[in-house]
Point group: D2
Chain length 376, copies 4
């Protein structure tokens, strides 16, 4: 059986829509018919084939299907599959963990040494079908439509970034650096979880305006303001600095500035990856003498964040429609990458639908949301 | 100098408005002119002179001024006072702690062995003036008006009850038992802090309707419903039971039912005091085999909760006006106790103002709030 | 193929050594040749067929093989088994958890609703062979001999009881109620983890003397002392009471006394099961007003405690040989139950060996330990 | 009244023994007759007048008495002093905190913005008498002799470094980088608190041999070994890397190596100060993608660590005599700095006694300890 898929065919920029075989599943896997899949920053890196992609994925693994954020329906299950059934409406955890890795034993399954990543270490979700190990399948709440269900994975990242390991955010101040999807989801979750003073720092007016809708109290565009940002945040926090800073962007300058924005004894969440892995940091002043907690995050706490995100969304407490700026069919994937790469930036989350009918229904829901809100 | 005060003059029901001396302050105390003070359940117990009052306070300490929730202005400071200045707009922590108690050393100052309680162990706030040790004074955010500032103390209780020691509430379900002030404040804070499924159980339609305004998802009146409440909560939580149960009421039946409502591995917060201190509990089934965490709460984490509550209120994230049902002058204190004791219940929080001008201004603010909301 | 097994054949006291079929394994199970298995309090309850056994197990499940603490070698694996291999030297987690239970998702797999217990809900380990689901198999450190490896399960209980959820024990005082195996293991772990003042309360001189060897600072025999135990503990803790109390016994009187022994803001661990599930407690005074944390424990944190226990034992930091008082062949199981039930008590942990050679080697190791220590 | 004191008289290397006035105390201070005081790395920095000293202390504050680790007897108290009495045997917290700093409110008093440091921001302890604010005085357990009581401050640092914020060390592996006093105390505490695999990395055989006595399992001299240290630690930890790394030294190379030694999801404690505040770090690989927790530490958790350290020492669980290598009279302070600066290093902790009688008694106790141990 054949299917359409967006494939990285060669080591270099770009991707192609090709016809390829529907994947065969192993005994412990399930086959999923994709309803919606969304473009993540990682996909953009691989699409552009930057230095990281070249090292991390490399020429040898190609061709490879892109994508890892997904919602779909199970159409076939392997012989050893126990929990998931044909017809289940699921999304997928991207980190294919080994339950017997030391980290899994210690409730850090997302950090296991032997972990493989969907769309990076094996074929991804930008296709009509995808094979998934049963143990990364998450059965969706039926009230969450596909264009939102596919976003649960990055919302999980943001949830872990906002709550950290101590969940200590209610009544606190938080600076969120980065106005991409991770930053904007974080604003929404921070608002939902009782952060009482939210600063969003970014560089695109369009994205920052969505940050405002998501609940940011302060919007700072690094290009337009001749503001002393560190000073501004101190002024807004009684002279102390913020309780928490999340770096969701990875720019070395921003990381250093973020550390300066923190009060003594604050928490810094390191989520964004720097273009150069090695950066310099004012170790004594900003880490040791400030008594800081730094929390590096890759992935999401399994499956704790999935449980919370399901509840955030199914309860209606968290509305992420404002972050969805574009929806296309899978065939139009090129438009998706184009709008994301356009500058000045005018796109945040782009959803792709293999089936045009799913797209049409999603568009109706998005329209309704926008008319209700009466904005944008 | 003389002042008016609401005084418990004898061991028995009731209280009297008397003229008494303005208190003299020691070198480590400040004198506060009361702008607003509010009636707490503890005051009602003492007013009614129940068994607990008779034991805890006793005949010997009388006469004693009632009250412990307050907002006011500092008009005099003792010689050894360092932080607080004349003119400061303050509220007060009720638990007069010893900073060198073992508990204080371990960040549990509110639990110290040597702690004294305002309005219980010494004269309280239902007066024109009150003497306060400097180290329980909390300088209020100027944006918080007196009728709200006086409520920070019980809001702090609710904050500690909701967040517990682990702050782990975002995306979780919570049952709040009790539709008095503590329960209603808890609903508002639970909503603010990302609890995604809030059940409020109470017995008065009036209070429950305020719980709805504060953000409860489910309202359960124990009198009217022939509902199996444990079963209902299981149904609404995928068959597991709630993640968290707060008992803010203290009825032994409710405590036992609350334990049953919890899922295995959940958290039970024991805040309400039972009419009979000793109660029976299904220890094996509900505590041991369920792997429960039970957290007894008296008071508020110092001064952590004060910091959060200030931010909740000054940010506008938390609106507690719906919980204020009555406001009177201090002279009219009798009306306050009367409405609280009326059945069926039609009152929640009652604020008293020694100065009629303060009352008038507060009434204007309350009117404005109600007209904006267009409700009640 | 046939094997010997200790079987509960009928609803009533006792057990029998019978010849029965070697169990057949399902595709996800492994077959283990038992090297050593140990008698737990639960086995004694079932042996005596008390009220709990009659309700929890019931007549219908019989005949059933007893036992759940084990060390052995894998001799066969099911078709779907991925991690465990023939020849692996393993022990087993008793709680057969469902990885998709809500509790499992939230890192509380040992509390899952759908959990089954080895030796309670299915055939146990008092046999030459046992069938085990792969996902409860724990590969032992090769340096840990079978008579110790079989004890990892109850040592895991004690580890979780001592460390609790916050691991906050170093430099603290701890009262351990109960001088059975759980209490004695807890003493050793408390000592190992930096508890600086350990009180062991029990009723048998023999067991208490082992508690001394395991590291208790204070030994209290409830029969011989006319001591006011609560007062004694207050005196030894500067008048405050203990930081932590573990109840490993379950006697209602002891539970109530244990609560009294705690300082305000302390932690009470509820591990022992009471003969009557429902007990009365001084709820107001001991839980609410004291600001207590109560932690119900059944089972062990998975697989966190297994990791720690392996390290405790393989590093030589924890020596549990003093707790092993008797070793027999499986055929002699009756002697094991007899010594455990003898009064005054002269036995703690009894290990059974299906193969006499294994017993002989274990005896040599035990002798060596005792001669080195020069005691008992 | 006059006294002897070791004073930094001018901006440049060295210090002088001078006769100066006994300090006058303010109303909130106490005057302490010093029994023992010990030389810390900070004193050595100031003695050598390095770049940090020149910036942090500067010319203007001179002359200033050195030292901040102390044990002594209170001989006079200010009028507003409430807790401390003449005759009290005390030690002192070095961080003179403001109880109303935001950090103090949030149980991080040691990190307050307005904090002053003894011996850095005001006169220190290398003198016959010292004036101390009451609220940094800690009443010592009478069983702890002065030469040990003066060490409680740095032992508190080590306690906080080892336990971190989560106390999660029992059954874990820990690498301790640095064989100075902080590293050696950390080894002892790690051993006491149940760390099951302790690696000590240093550069002086003499110090490392003391690390062995304190309980390190592995001793690594960076000069002598041609070992691949990262590889060695991986081999000893099943290929994963250590659970926890403490950097107590501050060498940039060691910090970077320490990060590499950690397993994914591990904890890195940043205690040592780097000679150059700004260093480069492999941010992506070692912090973000590894999901690390980094905890910067300056000072000790107040007064939590003091409580634990008192219990560690008074219970006899922790013996720090091996770390005391030299004792002199205050007059001989020059010898103290000389032995610390001698290379190869042959000194760890040096205690100074203003009164020769105190020295003599301490020497007797030290002799006894060494004869009991039969070592060194």
């Amino acid at each position: 059986m054949k299917m359409k898929a967006v494939v990285k065919t060669k080591a270099g920029p770009g991707a192609e829509l090709v016809e390829t075989d529907v994947p065969e599943i192993s005994d412990t896997e399930v086959l999923v018919k994709v309803k919606a899949t969304s473009i993540c920053g990682t996909d953009v890196h691989i699409y552009q084939w930057d230095k990281w992609s070249n090292t991390r994925i490399g020429r040898k693994k190609l061709p490879q299907i892109l994508g890892h954020e997904v919602a779909g329906e199970v159409v076939e299950v392997g012989k050893e599959v126990r929990k998931i059934k044909v017809g289940d409406y699921i999304s997928a955890e991207t980190h294919i963990y080994d339950p017997w890795d030391l980290q899994s034993i210690l409730c850090q399954a997302h950090l296991g040494e032997k972990m493989k990543i969907l769309g990076v270490d094996r074929d991804g979700t930008f296709a009509e079908y995808i094979a998934l190990p049963e143990n990364v399948c998450w059965v969706n709440h039926p009230s969450i439509p596909p264009e939102i269900a596919t976003l649960q994975e990055p919302i999980g990242n943001a949830t872990y970034a906002v709550l950290g390991e101590d969940n200590d955010v209610a009544g606190k101040s938080m600076v969120i650096i980065g106005d991409g999807p991770a930053g904007l989801f974080s604003v929404g979750i921070a608002r939902l979880c009782g952060v009482t003073n939210i600063f969003l720092i970014g560089e695109w007016d369009y994205n920052l305006s969505i940050g405002k809708i998501m609940g940011a109290d302060h919007i700072i565009n690094i290009h337009k303001n001749d503001l002393d940002r560190v000073e501004y945040i101190r002024e807004c926090t009684n002279g102390y600095g913020a309780d928490i800073v999340l770096d969701m962007a990875g720019a070395p300058e921003a990381i250093r500035e973020g550390l300066k924005m923190l009060r003594r004894g604050g928490r810094f969440t390191a989520f964004g990856l720097s273009p150069t892995s090695t950066i310099y940091i004012d170790y004594n002043e900003e880490i040791v003498l400030k008594g800081l907690q730094i929390h590096g995050i890759t992935g999401r706490k399994l499956f704790d964040t999935w449980y919370r995100v399901r509840n955030f969304l199914s309860s209606g407490r968290l509305n992420v429609y404002p972050v969805i700026t574009h929806m296309f069919t899978l065939d139009e994937f090129q438009k998706g990458f184009d709008v994301i790469l356009e500058r000045p930036r005018k796109a945040v989350k782009v959803i792709l639908f293999p089936d045009e009918k799913e797209l049409k229904e999603a568009q109706k829901r998005l329209e309704m949301q926008r008319s209700v809100k009466g904005e944008r």
